[in-house]
């Protein structure tokens, strides 16, 4: 069991591409840390550097108290699960799981014991004699996980392990991985591009973009208090709505104006937004912070618009419309019947409004 410390980590490829920029992370013992971001954001490169499969350009990686920069992968006491499973096609399931232990010269009975134990945890006891090509995608995934857990490593590394599974199986395996982590209590670093996976699995989540860490935090913290516009837009589905507005100060009251939209800046944000008076900033509202206006809604937090498209999902209805020159989505009660081109009045929850700097994208 160990914590993983990453200090000022950089990766520059020979071609000059700077994939990972000054990453600092402290992954605690037994923590499940998820790295998430769009493709090319450096998350996989970071993971591969922890594994020792990619050379470190500068910075330090510590597993426990030991700097592992120059240790080969085999000496880092880690186990990794790959996206394409990377099962050895010429070995049986048993041999696949035993390989790592054989390489480390474990006695035969110990190998046998550990493989059986892992197979039981994962429910693949009946498959031990099969070859990987005789297994379904989900079974291969389990074998790949089994191969990692027999080693009892200090850190698990997962590189998009669920991406090759179909949607149903992915949800099922997601739950199993979470349960497995709770049972094994081993530090885990998990890379994914799927924000739902990140939110459901991670004790904490790291959002990355263009090689930079954007924000590190618990799932609900990322959701409720995004540090910048990128995190706000990346976490949550449907994504947060953004409208570019201009702030104006009329005798002490701040207003955010856009084309056909005039909203009062909520009192809790007035102090911080005042510095941006006269400038363009972005206002961000999550779809669930919008609702159809009723009599009790204040007019300074409401606006008129027309329905564009209605997406009835059953448990909720997503209403698409335009406001302030930008497309928006509201998540509304499924009992409401709406038609395209129908005029509606939408109100927002002033407690759940975010403002972002126009240039840096940082939250205000």
């Amino acid at each position: 069991m160990a914590n993983v410390t990453i200090r000022n980590l950089n990766k520059k490829y020979d071609g000059g591409f700077h994939a990972v920029k000054d990453v600092n992370l402290e992954i605690r013992d037994k923590e499940f840390m998820v790295l998430v971001g769009p493709s090319g954001c450096g998350k996989t490169t970071t993971l591969r550097m922890v594994a020792g499969l990619e050379e470190i350009t500068s910075g330090e990686i510590l597993i426990g108290a030991e700097v592992v920069n120059d240790l080969p992968p085999m000496d880092r006491n880690i186990a990794m699960v790959f996206q394409n499973y990377a099962l050895y096609p010429h070995k049986s399931v048993y041999q696949n799981m035993a390989f790592g232990l054989q390489m480390r010269k474990y006695p035969k009975h110990e190998i046998e014991k550990r493989v059986r134990e892992a197979a039981e945890i994962l429910g693949i006891e009946s498959l031990l004699e099969r070859k990987p090509r005789q297994l379904s995608g989900g079974q291969r995934q389990r074998v790949a996980v089994g191969r990692a857990i027999v080693r009892h490593p200090e850190v698990f590394l997962f590189d998009e392990p669920l991406s090759n599974l179909d949607a149903m199986l992915r949800v099922q395996m997601r739950v199993e991985l979470k349960r497995l982590h709770e049972r094994l209590e081993t530090t885990a670093i998990y890379v994914t591009h799927d924000q739902v996976e990140a939110m459901t699995l991670g004790d904490r989540v790291v959002v990355m973009k263009d090689g930079w860490v954007q924000q590190v935090g618990e799932p609900l913290e990322l959701y409720g208090k995004p540090l910048n516009r990128f995190v706000a837009g990346f976490i949550g589905s449907p994504a947060m709505n953004f409208v570019d507005v201009t702030v104006s100060d009329s005798s002490g009251v701040l207003w955010a104006d856009a084309d056909g939209l005039r909203l009062k800046v909520p009192p809790q944000l007035v102090e911080r937004v005042r510095a941006h008076a006269g400038k363009r900033i972005a206002i961000g509202v999550r779809p669930e912070a919008l609702h159809l206006a009723s009599g009790s809604d204040l007019p300074e937090y409401s606006f008129d618009t027309a329905v564009d498209v209605v997406e009835p999902l059953g448990n909720e209805i997503l209403v698409n419309f335009r406001a302030g020159g930008a497309p928006m989505v509201a998540r509304v009660d499924p009992a409401v019947r709406l038609k395209a081109r129908q005029n509606i009045r939408v109100a927002l929850d002033p407690e759940r409004v975010h403002f972002f700097d126009d240039k840096s994208g940082a939250a205000i």
Binding site: M74, F82, Y88, G100
Partner: protein, 283 residues
């Protein structure tokens, strides 16, 4: 769905196929018939009333007996087998390591090296034999099996390297990365994981290399002079054509016997051989 008419399938598939098979197999048939034909049938004109150019009425093993008893054919067969095997093994071992390095290791000039190896394969043997003859003489290897065992790899290694490089590239990198995390060194991962997975590719490279050295003619003709040390292709041609006399029956008997080992090798490994060329690994 389109329903094809039967006659169309016959016209566009079976008929061209039959023509093709006839075209490729006829020389072998001719070889066999000639080898089994008695001399008096061989050397009479086709215009004779009793002539049967496409089959024989009196099959005989006389030519085979002559070939095995009056010439050093069994010795040639043994020479060819030994030389082909040794040069194939040498070339495969070198090709496996070189192919792996070119496919996986990134080092300065690796692409240039790959191209350079390929270019050496393109230099015709008819040019190379002159400098090679010089080297063989300087090393005092002339007229020994080593002359061929060491010169055949000059064209076999580039060939094996390229074929195997292509095959190694189809094997997912993650396999050896996983092995390295599992506790193998880079070399260990190569030997324990990549080579076993690449067996179809290695086998087809081996079969090709074996066939190429089995059939090789020009080096064998130049570097070997004693009748006892010759290989089948050279021996048959140089000992069974005396002046302007062709011993057709024995020539064809020799050719037939000489092609059997290669045919056997192919038929045993045909499945590996096909996957080896198309290259496929499924995790």
């Amino acid at each position: 769905m389109l329903i094809e008419r039967k006659w169309k399938k016959w016209l566009y598939f079976y008929l061209p196929m039959a023509v093709f098979i006839l075209f490729t197999l006829f020389p072998f048939y001719w070889m066999a018939v000639t080898a089994l034909r008695p001399d008096h049938e061989l050397y009479r004109t086709w215009r004779q009333a009793s002539a049967t150019p496409f089959w024989t009425l009196e099959p005989t093993l006389e030519h085979f007996r002559g070939l095995l008893q009056t010439t050093a054919f069994p010795k040639w067969l043994w020479n060819t087998m030994l030389i082909a095997l040794v040069s194939t093994v040498i070339s495969l071992i070198c090709g496996m390591f070189a192919g792996y390095a070119l496919a996986r290791l990134k080092f300065r000039g690796s692409e240039f090296l790959g191209t350079a190896i390929f270019v050496t394969y393109l230099v015709p043997q008819t040019l190379l034999f002159i400098p090679l003859a010089d080297i063989i003489r300087d090393l005092h290897l002339g007229n020994t099996p080593w002359a061929l065992m060491l010169t055949y790899p000059t064209f076999l290694i580039p060939f094996c390297t390229w074929l195997l490089m292509g095959y190694f590239k189809t094997i997912p990198k993650e396999l050896e990365e996983c092995a390295r995390i599992d506790g193998a060194t880079r070399f260990g991962a190569m030997v324990r994981i990549i080579f076993p997975v690449a067996i179809p590719g290695i086998l087809s490279a081996g079969i090709f290399a074996f066939t190429l050295s089995w059939n090789e003619f020009i080096y064998a003709l130049i570097f070997m002079s004693s009748a006892d040390l010759k290989t089948v292709p050279v021996g048959v041609v140089s000992e069974l054509i005396r002046g302007d006399i062709f011993f057709w029956g024995q020539l064809m008997a020799g050719a037939l016997l000489g092609s059997i080992p290669v045919a056997l090798v192919y038929s045993f490994f045909v499945e590996y051989y096909v996957t080896g060329l198309t290259g496929s690994v499924k995790g």
